[in-house]
Amino acid sequence: MNTKLIRTPIAYGPEGQPTGAGAEHSRSVAPTVGDSARAGLGPIKISAKNIKVFYGEKQALHGVSLDIPDKAVTALIGPSGCGKSTFLRTLNRMNDTVPGARVEGRIEMDGEDINDKKVDPVLLRAQVGMVFQKPNPFPKSIFENVAYGPKIHGLASSKSELEDIVQSALKRAGLWDEVADRLHAPGTGLSGGQQQRLVIARAIAVEPEVILMDEPCSALDPIATAKIEELIDELRERYCIVIVTHSMAQAARVSQRTAFFHMGNIVETGDTEDIFTNPRERRTLDYITGRFG
């Protein structure tokens, strides 16, 4: 665990165009367009611009902009009710399912606006997987849970292909060794940590490009948490991962980029190490040192 706490610094070679007046460094004050690809981090996968979200009369986000790099973990931190989960749910248009919710602004994924009418939320969600706070395996067998996505999207043309997909998803989620002999036992019978890894396997079985995680470890014990964090670190090599967490230690351990949310705005975005060692904003400092939260 401790080895993870302080991450080896990643060398960022600013390669893209410098943005904003004083943004010669990798971090900037929100709202901003973050810096682009650096060594170790992929190119910008998602670029959110001036996102506003309303739930009925209430405004939850007041114009948030954030660039999210591919092949990296971006952590969204902030006190509860700050809008970080709301922002996460705009990235796969889950807010569409909430009655009375309204989203304004532009979210580009690979240059395409996902809020465009032409974009189908069903297809979008096949591209953007999501893992929730509480493990929510369906009341079906472990196999059926993982096969759910491939089945509804018609990804497997044969039974053996489906079995291959399930097996590889479970392997990538680090769960295969634990459940290989009981694939047809109910998924709800697993332990909390196993359930959460099952849900991750379920998400990666449809080969998404982005995985959103909404406080994935908040319902788990420390050992299960460690396993999930390890898994996240492995998954980073293939996916663009966005994780909401209320644990700053976790953000420091697993993420490369961090955005600090407060009262529906982004206060500060930057490389995780910088945010935690040398925050630019007073509010960020107060939050990470525990003066409020």
């Binding site: 889950m94 399912t97 069903v122 969600r125 509480k134 929510n136 759910y148 509804i152 379920r202």
Partner: protein
Amino acid sequence: MTWIFLIFMAVFAVLSYLGGRRLAVRRSHGVKPHSRPGQHGLYAVIGVLAPAMAILILASVFSAPIERHLMAAGSPEVVEQLEPFRRQAFMADARRVGDGGQALQIWAAPYAELLPTEGRRAHNIHALLQWGGLTASVIAAILGGLFVFLRIRPDLRARNAVEAWVVGILFACATVAVLTTVGIIFSLVYDSLRFFGMVSPLEFLFGTQWSPQIAIRADQVGSSGAFGAVPLFAGTFLIMLIAMAVAAPVGLFSAIYLSEYASKTTRAVVKPLLEVLAGVPTVVYGFFAALTVGPALRVFFNTIGSWLVGGPLDGLGQYLMLVQNQMALVAGCVMGIMLIPFVSSLSDDIMNAVPQSLRDGSYAMGATKSETVKKVLLPAALPGIAGALLLAVSRAIGETMIVTMAAGLAAKLTLNPLETVTTVTVQIVTLLTGDQEFNSPKTLAAFGLGLTLFVVTLILNIVAMRIVATYREQYD
């Protein structure tokens, strides 16, 4: 007279309250009493009313049997010789004459002369018992009052005593529900045992002939008819199946639409309307079945029959032309309509108990709403929905008015929905509303049927409620 007595008791209660309060203040002598004066007053009221009411209830429950016993003990021999049913009627008429009214029946020679004397005797016995009960009650009230007033002292824990009584009364009210069950079981079992003394339970449960009105063979049990209830069970089952075939899909799909698709406004309009459908009394559904649906379906089938006659399906056509108003299909369909809101609201509750996280999980995988419903929600809610449907089945089996008004009386062993069938509940009503003789197997058969119905619905209800409760706990 009862009114005068009740007013007297009320006045007595108020006086004892005031008296108890006064006395508590007077006897306190500057000491701080344990309880407040008003509580002493209530204590006094309980002391007065409790014994009086106890005597009154005992008197009113037992006065009728005692009265009958006394009347029977002193009645002349000719009256004794009457059949029990006639004797009851004679006694009742005697009472009427004794109270200054008219006899309902015209009585022949020896009885007509006896009416006035027997009537006077009945009147006197009744008055004696009534006065006796009321007097005993008043005496009990006075004794209770004396006892209580002697006990009022500053250190009397009047509040605790009053509250103990209150809790006792509350508990007694709660046990009424249990006593109701005991009463149901006892009355059903008692008369059923008498019935099964005349008709063997095996014949009742497995016999396929049901004709309680007439004897089929001379050696028939009780020589009053056949009591094989299988045709009734079959009819009940058939109508239940038709009802569920209507109610289950319509109710379930409405619940799915209302809980997953409908906007707030749609829900706000549709739900109360479904509640109206649920609130319509069953006798109204019966009327609807008998006078609207029945004739309409008959005309429908007759017309189809008239098209088919002469064609390749001539036999079927002939049959359809003879279809009657009273077919199982009519009662079943209307019962199904009645059950739609029941199934729908129960399933709606069940679907809402499925946690939102499962829906979110499915949507986040890129599932459409219908895929989420079919592949996640319904499997998750299946036990609960099964429980809800079982409850609906129990309702369908026990429903009486629709079948009584629309199903008919012919006990036929058939699963053809176009035939007239009869059900357990129809037969209970028929057997108990005709001319009654309380010791004939015909009347007692109603209790045998009632017991069967009670046991079956009870099992269904218990199983269904278990299932639903376990299901709910799973998601709590």
